[in-house]
C-alpha cells in the first residue's frame, strides 16, 4: 500500500480561540507520528481534522486511503454481547471473521459478555480488534494507549510497528511515553 497523509498550513479554531496554526504534516508509508502537548492544545481536534470528521479553520488535507481511527469513544453497543457488537462492524467491513483479531487481543473469551459489563481496558481491546478487521493504511489513534494494562500497551505498540512495516502509517496521541521509533510533534509549538 502507498499510504500518504499530508496537511498544509493547517489551523484549527474552537469558538473564538485559535488552537493551532501553520501546521504542516507529511506522512508516508512506514511513518509514525507521536502527537504530544498539554491538555486543551487541540490534539483530539487535530486527529478529527486529519480523519476528515471535522473541518479545519484553514489549510488542506490529502489522504490516500481509508482511515482507521480510535478515539475516546468505543462505539460498541453497551447492551449487546461483545461478539455481536464487533460482528456488526465486521459485517460492514465486508463480512470478515472476528475470531482472529479477538484472539490477537486476548478477548476471545469475552465474546458472550455484554459490552456494558466489560472494564475500560477490555472495551479498549475490543476497539483495537475492530481496527484490525480490515487493513486500513492510515491509522489515527487518539489516546488509544489509555486504560490498557502494560501487556496490552506493548501489544498495541507491536501492532503499530507491524502496521508501519507493512507500509501503513500511523499518527497517535499519547501522554505516556511509547516505545516506538516515532517522530514527535509537539502541538504546543504551533499555538
Amino acid at each position: 500500500m502507498q499510504a500518504r497523509l499530508s496537511a498544509t498550513d493547517l489551523a484549527c479554531r474552537k469558538g473564538d480561540r485559535l488552537l493551532f496554526r501553520q501546521l504542516d504534516l507529511d506522512l508516508g508509508p512506514g511513518d509514525m507520528l507521536h502527537v504530544r502537548g498539554p491538555n486543551g492544545v487541540g490534539k483530539t481536534s487535530l486527529m478529527r481534522i486529519l480523519a476528515g470528521l471535522a473541518r479545519p479553520f484553514a489549510g488542506t488535507i490529502e489522504r490516500s486511503d481509508e482511515v482507521g481511527m480510535i478515539d475516546g469513544r468505543h462505539a460498541l453497543d453497551p447492551d449487546r454481547k461483545l461478539g455481536d457488537a464487533l460482528r456488526f462492524w465486521a459485517r460492514l467491513d465486508g463480512g470478515v471473521d472476528i475470531s482472529e483479531p479477538m484472539r490477537r487481543l486476548g478477548i476471545d473469551t469475552l465474546t458472550d459478555i455484554p459490552v456494558g459489563y466489560l472494564s475500560t481496558g477490555q472495551k479498549q481491546r475490543g476497539v483495537i480488534a475492530r481496527l484490525l478487521l480490515r487493513p486500513r493504511p492510515i491509522w489515527l489513534l487518539d489516546e488509544a494507549f489509555a486504560g490498557l494494562d502494560t501487556a496490552s500497551q506493548d501489544l498495541l505498540a507491536d501492532l503499530v510497528s507491524e502496521h508501519c512495516k507493512a507500509g501503513g502509517l500511523c499518527a497517535f496521541v499519547s501522554h505516556q511515553p511509547v516505545d516506538l521509533p516515532a517522530r514527535v510533534l509537539d502541538l504546543a509549538e504551533y499555538a
Binding site: R73, H74, D77
Partner: protein, 218 residues
C-alpha cells in the same frame, strides 16, 4: 443496499421488543393505560366514550411515540457510532433511513394491535375501529419521522427528551387533525391527508436528521 440491511438489522436488534435497550413495550403500555384511564376520568357513558374515544387514542398514540425518543439517536452519537460509520464512507442519511424504519417498527405495529383492546375499552363501534386503524396506519409513520428529526436535533443536548415532546407536538398537529378527523367524516380524505403528510415527513426525515448529526459534529 447491503449496508442498509446490516444497519437495519442492528437497529432492530436494539429497538424491537426483547431487544437490547429493553424499553420497547413502554409506548404500548402507555397507549393502553390511556384507554383504561379515560373511562374513569369522563365516566362510563358509552355514547360519550364512543364519540370521543377515537380522538383520545390518537393523542395517546402521539404521546406514546415520544417515549422511545430519548435514546433513539443520542446514545449512538455519544458512543461515536456515527463517526465510525463516516470513516467507513457510510452516510448519515443511510443510517437515519434504517433508524426511521426500525423506530416505526418498534412502536407502530404494537400500537395498531393495541387499538383492538383499546377500542373495546372505549366501546368504539366496528366502523370507528376500522377508521381509527386506517388513520393510525397512515399517521404513525409521520409520527416516527418527526420523532427521528427531533431526537437527532436534540442529540447533543443534555436532557433533550422533555424538549423533544415540546418540539414534536406542534409539527404533529396536522397529523392529528387529519388522522382524528378521518373518524368523523364519511369519506377517506382524512386518512389520505394524514398519509400524504406522513410520506412527506418520511421523505424529509433522513436528510434532516443526518444534517442535524453532521451539524453537531464539529
Amino acid at each position: 443496499m447491503k449496508t442498509f440491511a446490516i444497519l437495519l438489522r442492528r437497529d432492530l436488534a436494539i429497538l424491537l421488543p426483547g431487544g437490547a435497550r429493553g424499553s420497547a413495550f413502554l409506548p404500548l403500555i402507555f397507549f393502553l393505560l390511556v384507554a383504561v384511564l379515560y373511562p374513569f376520568a369522563v365516566g362510563p357513558e358509552p355514547s360519550l366514550l364512543a364519540r370521543t374515544g377515537g380522538g383520545v387514542l390518537w393523542v395517546a398514540a402521539l404521546l406514546a411515540s415520544i417515549l422511545p425518543l430519548d435514546r433513539l439517536v443520542a446514545s449512538d452519537r455519544e458512543a461515536g457510532v456515527f463517526d465510525q460509520l463516516a470513516l467507513r464512507g457510510i452516510s448519515e442519511e443511510i443510517a437515519m433511513t434504517a433508524r426511521l424504519v426500525a423506530h416505526w417498527l418498534s412502536f407502530g405495529p404494537l400500537i395498531l394491535i393495541a387499538t383492538l383492546p383499546a377500542a373495546a375499552l372505549l366501546s368504539l363501534n366496528g366502523q370507528t375501529f376500522w377508521r381509527l386503524l386506517a388513520s393510525l396506519l397512515a399517521g404513525t409513520p409521520g409520527l416516527a419521522a418527526i420523532g427521528l428529526i427531533t431526537s437527532a436535533l436534540l442529540a447533543s443536548l443534555r436532557g433533550g427528551t422533555a424538549l423533544a415532546g415540546l418540539l414534536l407536538a406542534p409539527i404533529a398537529v396536522p397529523l392529528v387533525i387529519f388522522g382524528a378527523g378521518h373518524l368523523a367524516r364519511d369519506d377517506i380524505s382524512g386518512a389520505l391527508f394524514a398519509g400524504a403528510f406522513s410520506l412527506v415527513l418520511c421523505a424529509i426525515a433522513p436528510f434532516a436528521a443526518a444534517a442535524a448529526i453532521r451539524a453537531a459534529r464539529d
